[in-house]
């Protein structure tokens, strides 16, 4: 690097041909282009149809299929007409139980599995994949296989229970009013436990090793480290898992119950949830003619209930569960 070359470089640079016209900063068009397609498709194929449907809750249907304005009449019917109100509150209550069971069974199991997986045992990824498989199955498979397993006639569960000397414990769980809802919930837990497991696992992985080392030096063993260090740190993720569980419990639980227990939430409406009530009301069931107006009313109520839950979560819970920089 002698003076000569640098001089040369310098002149070369200055002798460069004039640049092409300089571009000016554009407006916000790119923002529009980025966001418009998603908003468009989403609005046309999701929001518009939903609004169209929910709008129906403000009308009352006539025999010939036409509709007349009914204001909040349908809501009044749903909440105060004994026929509707019983079904509505029963379904809502069942939903809450369903939610409760998922919260106390699915999420702790997910947490447990995630915690164990985060210890990086051998074959960890194999376990992870296998445990996630049920999540990938369609409810038709899930319904069939669990009905088969739990059916009194074919003896799968009795045989299995018998293998551990518990055959006497066997009950037709899916058929008893007292146990049907719990049983269906547990099947759903079985199917979906992979999702909280994955979410929590990922959260656990993001906890820095040094923090765990620090806790070990502080005298904590694995168990206490989990309770006193890891768990508090993943609380925000547990919060998200909870809210996803809450939403899913209203929207996704339907398929499984419909597939296993039918549209009436057998036995004796003990597994009837908002989803099944909504489905049979909206689309009809056997001799029951679909009533899109009452259906839409139920759907709107469901929307409000979810919204209330989410809002409560955001306002009361999320703010307290602070996310920690790690």
């Amino acid at each position: 690097m002698s003076e000569a070359t640098t001089e040369q470089e310098k002149t070369a640079r200055e002798a460069k041909p004039p640049k092409r016209r300089k571009r000016r900063v554009g407006g916000g068009w790119h923002i529009f282009v980025f966001i418009a397609p998603a908003v468009l498709i989403y609005t046309i194929f999701s929001i518009y149809p939903l609004v169209e449907s929910l709008r129906l809750s403000l009308f009352d249907g006539l025999d010939d299929g036409s509709a007349v304005w009914n204001g909040l009449g349908n809501y009044v019917t749903l909440l105060f007409n004994p026929t509707w109100a019983t079904q509505f509150w029963n379904a809502l209550w069942n939903n809450l139980i369903l939610f409760f069971i998922h919260m106390v069974v699915q999420n702790p199991i997910g947490l447990l599995l995630a915690a164990l997986l985060s210890l990086a045992p051998r074959f960890g990824s194999t376990y992870r994949t296998l445990i996630f498989i049920p999540t990938l199955l369609s409810v038709v498979v899930v319904g069939f296989i669990w009905e088969l397993i739990l059916s009194p006639l074919w003896g799968v569960s009795e045989t299995l229970l018998g293998a551990v000397g518990l055959a006497w414990l066997y009950q037709p769980w899916l058929g008893l009013e007292s146990t049907a809802l719990t049983t269906v919930s547990l099947i759903s837990v079985w199917q979906y436990v992979g999702i909280p497991m994955m979410l929590i696992y990922a959260a656990l992985l993001s906890i820095p090793d040094e923090l765990i080392d620090a806790a070990r030096v502080d005298g904590l063993n694995g168990w206490w480290i989990f309770w006193k260090v890891k768990l508090p740190l993943i609380l925000p993720t547990l919060g998200i898992v909870a809210i996803l569980t809450y939403i899913g419990n209203f929207t996704a639980s339907f398929d499984l119950i419909y597939s296993i227990q039918g549209a009436l939430g057998a036995p004796n409406y003990s597994t009837d949830v908002m989803g099944t009530l909504l489905f049979r009301t909206f689309f009809g069931q056997q001799l029951q003619i679909g009533d899109i107006h009452m259906g839409a009313t139920i759907a709107s109520m469901m929307f409000f209930i979810i919204l209330i839950g989410v809002t409560i979560y955001l306002v009361l819970v999320q703010r307290r569960l602070q996310r920690y920089e790690m």
Partner: protein
């Protein structure tokens, strides 16, 4: 008493051997600093002492007892981590009290100890804050406080200051030094930072590739590095090296066609010096032609109080010379360089240093 003795300590991760048998004897109350290039095993060694990593071979002995199988919490050590590793969900008080609470210590005792540590570290006003509401220096102080309350016999620090900015680093460095003076506890400190190592250590342990290269006081290492690696590693800016031709059986040397330079070294049979080293602060600048060599200044770094000159004299690597803040040289100037013989370091072809006979006069 809490002497720490490492006896032929080894570590392998599966096939990968990381620590190759380290013997070390650390006296109670000593401040020992581990230095060495990245990946040389400093952290691993520290973690083995802490009990966070199992020992593959050899013994770790604390206070006369072999602790290889003792859990970290029972070794009487406390550790301060590079990334602070504060519990983000606990406030300062909670962080400091954590270990004691877990050990089921009495509330009053905990309170007293935390308060005292907070006072030592000037954290009294911050006890209710969460870590994220603290500045880097404050976090570092809490991390140290958390170690203090455990009243350990040995403090372990793994690059505790490297996440701080330069100004804070200086400040925290002094704080740690004062802490050591006050507590008189054994401290083992890992760092990359020259200045930290030099200023903090009673003794420095220089590691390379899982082996100890040299152990000694900072000035021993500065003045009597036992080999080229240590010589180059200790001191900043680093030592300048120059390949030379030994003449007279290695009692004198010369560089290219320069005049022979007299040396004062203990010769070793079978070894002749092939390289000299000289620290930037020992090179003297003279008029061109008056020194051993002439060179061209091509970079002048003025720090105000001192100036670093990068001088090119056709040698592979330019020499760095440390000069006064007020030195009047500019880039392009030609200068003469003098290498005072008593400041020279000599290395044989294997990089092993020769012991200089006149060096001791330099020791402070």
């Amino acid at each position: 008493m809490s002497d720490l003795v490492l006896k032929d300590v080894r570590k392998a991760y599966g096939e990968a051997r990381v620590i190759h048998g380290i013997d070390l004897d650390i006296r109670d109350g000593e401040f020992v600093v581990f230095v060495g290039p990245s990946g040389c095993g400093k952290s691993t060694l520290l973690r083995m002492i802490a009990g966070l990593e199992t020992v593959t071979g050899g013994d770790v002995i604390i206070g006369g007892e072999k602790v290889n199988d003792i859990v970290p919490a029972d070794r009487g050590i406390a550790m301060v981590f590079q990334s602070y590793a504060l519990y983000p969900h606990k406030d300062v008080y909670g962080n400091m009290a954590f270990a004691l609470r877990h050990a089921g210590e009495d509330k009053a005792v905990i309170d007293e100890r935390v308060k005292k540590a907070a006072e030592i570290l000037g954290l009294e006003a911050l006890l209710k804050r969460k870590p994220k509401e603290l500045s880097g220096g404050q976090r570092q102080r809490v991390a140290i406080g958390r170690a203090i309350v455990r009243d350990p016999e040995i403090f372990l620090f793994d690059e505790p200051l490297s996440n701080l900015d330069a100004a804070l680093r200086v400040q925290m460095r002094v704080e740690i030094l004062r802490l050591h003076q006050r507590l008189k506890t054994t401290m083992i400190y890992v760092t990359h930072d020259q200045v930290e190592a030099m200023t903090l250590a009673d003794r420095i342990v220089v590691l390379r590739d899982g082996r100890v290269e040299q152990v000694g006081t900072p000035l021993e290492l500065y003045h009597h590095p036992c080999n080229r690696f240590v010589a180059g590693f200790i001191g900043s800016p680093k030592m300048n090296f120059l390949a030379i031709d030994p003449i007279d059986d290695g009692r004198r040397v010369r560089y290219r066609q320069s005049a022979p330079i007299d040396l004062h070294v203990k010769t070793r049979s079978g070894a002749v010096p092939t390289e000299i080293g000289i620290r930037p602060e020992h090179v003297r600048l003279v008029e061109p032609g008056k020194g051993a060599f002439d060179g061209t200044v091509f970079v002048v770094e003025r720090l105000g109080g001192e100036t670093f000159l990068h001088v090119d004299f056709g040698h592979e690597e330019p020499f760095v010379v440390k000069a006064d803040g007020g030195v009047q040289l500019r880039s392009g100037d030609v200068v003469g360089l003098v290498f005072p013989a008593e400041t020279l370091h000599l290395f044989d072809a294997e990089g092993v240093a020769f012991e200089q006979t006149e060096r001791h006069a330099l020791l402070g």
